[in-house]
């Protein structure tokens, strides 16, 4: 085979040069819909960066992000990983029955505890009742969907832990209610479904003392059947999509939703434009904002402050039936003193609503101490 080595040479050179030419010729992409993130575009070197080596790291990222047929290569890799029996990718389990579930942090008890201490200290000083609703991650309540032998939920994330830690805060425990409830979670997104949010809303009613609106008073509408959520993007996979449903009241609830920092006022809880985008969960209150003020015509005149992550977004349309005003604060973007804010707005109660994953991975509540 006299041509064997020549052939290999030409094929290697052809492949390298071909990819290089296409890399140079094809236009840049700013955004990857598959991964749902911004891509690195061509960096411009500053002299200082050149010497420190910072530029080269950015440049390497640029080459990888803009590589020809990037999405195809990414999918190829994931397919090979699945073939090799890998059970997780980028902190996400490939669970049973097409479930993607976030891997729970086993050793983050300190972060979790710091958040709870900050919360309880805040509640101690608060003049009004403080409630805490932690939303279990899917891996905690759907353990049968985890891959075989995957680590069980760490004990610090179990309800017994926050119950014993909180002295001045009223915990709302939905763990039993949620256990084994597949319909409360998406398969491809880390959030709860509207169904899950509704169940937690009923539990909240029991704790806070309002009568939840009956299920029959809503018409349940499917607004998207092709929802590929955050976990699909994080693994770079295209699993069977989820269905996104909304609970719309039979008699519409007039409301005024004010995005305070953005100086924007809407008459609906739903930002419909997101239904056609990749990030469909953002249909609820347009994703995350520093401060939202919800005003309804509920005559009782009660005021609620919700301190939260994105899990709350799906539950707020239910809560709105019981409060004249709801202030919705996301501490990651909200930079005022919360205790002062609470006093100024004269709220009647405070609800902290967080996914357990958020409290186990970010010290979001540290800001309460300031």
């Amino acid at each position: 085979m006299a041509y064997y080595h020549k052939l290999i040479s030409l094929m290697l050179l052809g492949f390298l040069l071909g990819c290089t030419f296409l890399f140079v010729l094809l236009p840049e992409r700013d955004f990857s819909p598959l991964e749902n993130r911004m891509l690195q575009t061509k960096p411009v070197p500053a002299p200082a960066d050149l010497l420190s080596g910072n530029f080269t790291a950015t440049f390497d990222q640029y080459v990888a992000d803009q590589f020809v047929f990037r999405d195809w290569w990414v999918s190829l890799k994931v397919k090979v990983e699945r073939l090799l029996q890998k059970k997780e990718q980028n902190g996400v389990y490939f669970g049973k029955d097409g479930y993607l579930l976030q891997v729970l942090p086993q050793d983050n008890e300190e972060i979790w505890a710091e958040n709870l201490v900050a919360l309880d200290n805040f509640a101690k000083k608060s003049p009004v009742p403080v409630y805490f609703l932690p939303v279990p991650a899917a891996a905690q309540v759907l353990p049968e969907k985890l891959p075989a032998f995957a680590a069980p939920s760490p004990s610090y994330l179990e309800p017994g832990n926050f119950r014993s830690k909180l002295k001045h805060t009223a915990g709302i425990d939905v763990f039993n209610e949620f256990y084994g409830q597949e319909k409360y979670y998406y398969r491809t997104d880390h959030h709860w479904t509207t169904e899950g949010a509704y169940a937690a809303y009923r539990k909240t009613g029991e704790a806070v003392g309002f009568t939840p609106v009956a299920r029959e008073s809503f018409k349940i509408e499917t607004v998207a059947a092709d929802f590929l959520g955050s976990l699909a993007a994080r693994t770079g996979t295209q699993p069977q999509p989820d269905v996104l449903q909304l609970f719309l009241p039979q008699t519409p609830l007039p409301c005024r939703v004010e995005y305070v920092a953005e100086k924007r006022i809407e008459a609906s809880f739903y930002a419909w434009e997101h239904i056609d985008s990749r990030d469909k969960y953002a249909v609820f209150l347009d994703g995350n904002h520093a401060l939202i003020k919800i005003t309804t015509s509920v005559p009782k005149g009660r005021r609620l402050l919700v301190v939260k992550d994105s899990f709350a977004n799906a539950m707020l349309p239910f809560l709105a039936h019981h409060y004249e005003e709801i202030y919705v604060v996301d501490l990651r973007f909200f930079h005022d003193n919360l205790a002062v804010f609470l006093w100024q707005q004269e709220v009647d109660e405070v609800l902290f609503l967080y996914g357990t994953m958020t409290l186990a991975t970010e010290t979001v509540l540290r800001k309460l101490a300031i």
Partner: protein, 466 residues
């Protein structure tokens, strides 16, 4: 720049290869030198000055040694100067802080450390330039008068940052005259792709297993997890290092150079002596040639032999990093080699391969524990777990890791053995299918490696918020 990066593979390598082949013979070395400087500067813009200083110093000292060849004492003086420059640079940048910290620990002093970053490839290029002046002094190789050729030798990008350690006499003739054609290129291309696959597909992915085990507290491990972890590390370091050497040798071939081999299926060794003839061979032969034999080797009686072994293995350990665990790791092998030389070797040759193979692998794996943990307490803890002290034999974690990594580990172990290759080759040659299948296989590896490199940056949701 590293070989296993998209920037190197698709933006640096293609234009360099094309230009190199288009240039006339006379311009090739200068072009390689320029390309190598760019390659180095990509990761280490500042230390390039240090490398050039070391290169020029040895070039000049080589000329001076040659000039004073008739006067042994003067020549010797300049050789010593060359060694001082090289060992001085290496000592200062790699070992100064280590020395200061050791002194502080020993005498309770509080001397300040410098915290200098380690210059890329310094352990390799200082050893290469030393091989040049020593060989010129020994009159084993003619002096190099063309500065560009000497610079090309030292900075040659395939072997600049991670070896193999190419002694000057091994490429001296090739610097002037080498075969550059598509057939040699093809040989090199095959070797390069094999190395890329070893590094990107095997080392990186098996390394993830070790990374997970390493992060667990030792008291939370089970016996199986600990063995899984250290086996994964052994495979990772082998595929990483030998893969890099394969890429270097392959790239060298593509440019017309023949570099020395660096690995020869070390995990098939049947004694530790055998293992070290198969592992990082160019480092071993460097120390044999320039330390062990000049000290008298094994020809001056047992006490001198033992001293020489300990000196060489102390240095070999220290070469791997400025930390006591590397020294300990080196001495560990020094002692085993001494024991083998004195008593064991004959017995090992006689016993069944299964036993000698098992003996070697266990010792090598225990050696990697020493190598990987800088803190001796961690080493001891890990040893206790490996031998089952106070931990379960197997637990859920071990089963989970096994279910994730068993296929990859089996592929890795098979790839570390030569028989897979030989058997497949024989089988295919008989069926005359060898060539098409081989070509497909190489491109399969190249494609998969590209996919894994593209996805290595796969870290989505930069603006992802809960």
């Amino acid at each position: 720049m590293v070989f296993s990066s998209l920037t190197f593979l698709f933006l640096f390598l293609p234009p360099v290869l094309v230009l190199y082949y288009l240039l006339p013979q006379a311009g090739k070395n200068a072009f390689l030198f320029a390309a190598s400087l760019f390659f180095y500067a990509w990761g280490e813009p500042v230390y390039i000055v240090l490398m050039l200083f070391s290169t020029v110093a040895d070039y000049v000292l080589g000329l001076i040694i040659e000039k004073h060849r008739h006067n042994k004492q003067t020549a010797r003086l300049f050789l010593v100067l060359s060694l001082l420059v090289n060992v001085g640079i290496l000592g200062f940048f790699k070992y100064f802080d280590f020395l200061v910290q050791s002194i502080n620990a020993l005498w309770g002093t509080n001397l300040a450390i410098l915290n200098l970053p380690l210059p890329l490839g310094i352990s390799f290029y200082t050893f290469q330039t030393m091989s040049y002046t020593i060989d010129v002094y020994r009159n084993e190789v003619p002096v190099q008068r063309r500065l560009i050729d000497f610079c090309t030798y030292v900075t040659l990008f395939p072997q600049l940052v991670a070896g193999p350690i190419v002694r000057y006499q091994e490429v001296e003739k090739q610097l002037r005259q080498r075969q550059v054609d598509l057939d040699t290129f093809g040989l090199g291309a095959k070797r390069f792709i094999a190395g890329l696959g070893k590094k990107v597909l095997l080392a990186n992915n098996i390394g993830l297993l070790w990374q997970q085990v390493e992060q667990l507290p030792p008291e939370g491990l089970s016996v199986v997890t600990a063995w899984l972890g250290i086996v994964a590390y052994a495979l990772q370091i082998y595929f990483d290092f030998s893969g890099y050497s394969d890429m270097a040798i392959g790239l060298g071939k593509m440019l017309g150079f023949t570099f020395p081999e660096n690995f020869d299926y070390p995990y098939t060794a049947k004694s530790i002596t055998d293992f070290w003839r198969r592992w990082h061979m160019t480092l071993g032969s460097w120390f044999r040639e320039y330390v062990y034999i000049p000290l008298g080797g094994n020809r001056r009686g047992v006490p001198v032999l033992l001293r020489n072994l300990m000196v060489v293995w102390f240095l070999t350990g220290l070469w791997h990093g400025a930390s006591w665990n590397f020294v300990l790791w080196g001495l560990y092998y020094g002692v085993i080699l001494a024991v083998e030389k004195m008593w064991l070797l004959r017995g090992l040759r006689k016993c069944t391969p299964l036993v000698s193979h098992f003996y070697t692998l266990i010792l090598v794996l225990l050696g990697w524990v020493l190598f990987v943990f800088p803190d001796f307490r961690q080493v001891l803890q890990y040893y206790l777990v490996l031998f089952g002290r106070g931990v379960p034999l197997i637990d859920r974690q071990a089963l989970y890791l096994l279910s994730n990594y068993l296929p990859l580990l089996v592929i890795g172990m098979a790839a570390a053995m030569p028989w897979t290759k030989i058997k497949i080759q024989k089988l295919l040659q008989e069926k005359t299918l060898y060539y098409p299948v081989a070509i497909l296989l190489y491109f399969f590896v190249l494609f998969l490696s590209t996919a894994y490199l593209v996805d290595a940056s796969f870290n989505p949701f930069l603006y992802f918020r809960f």
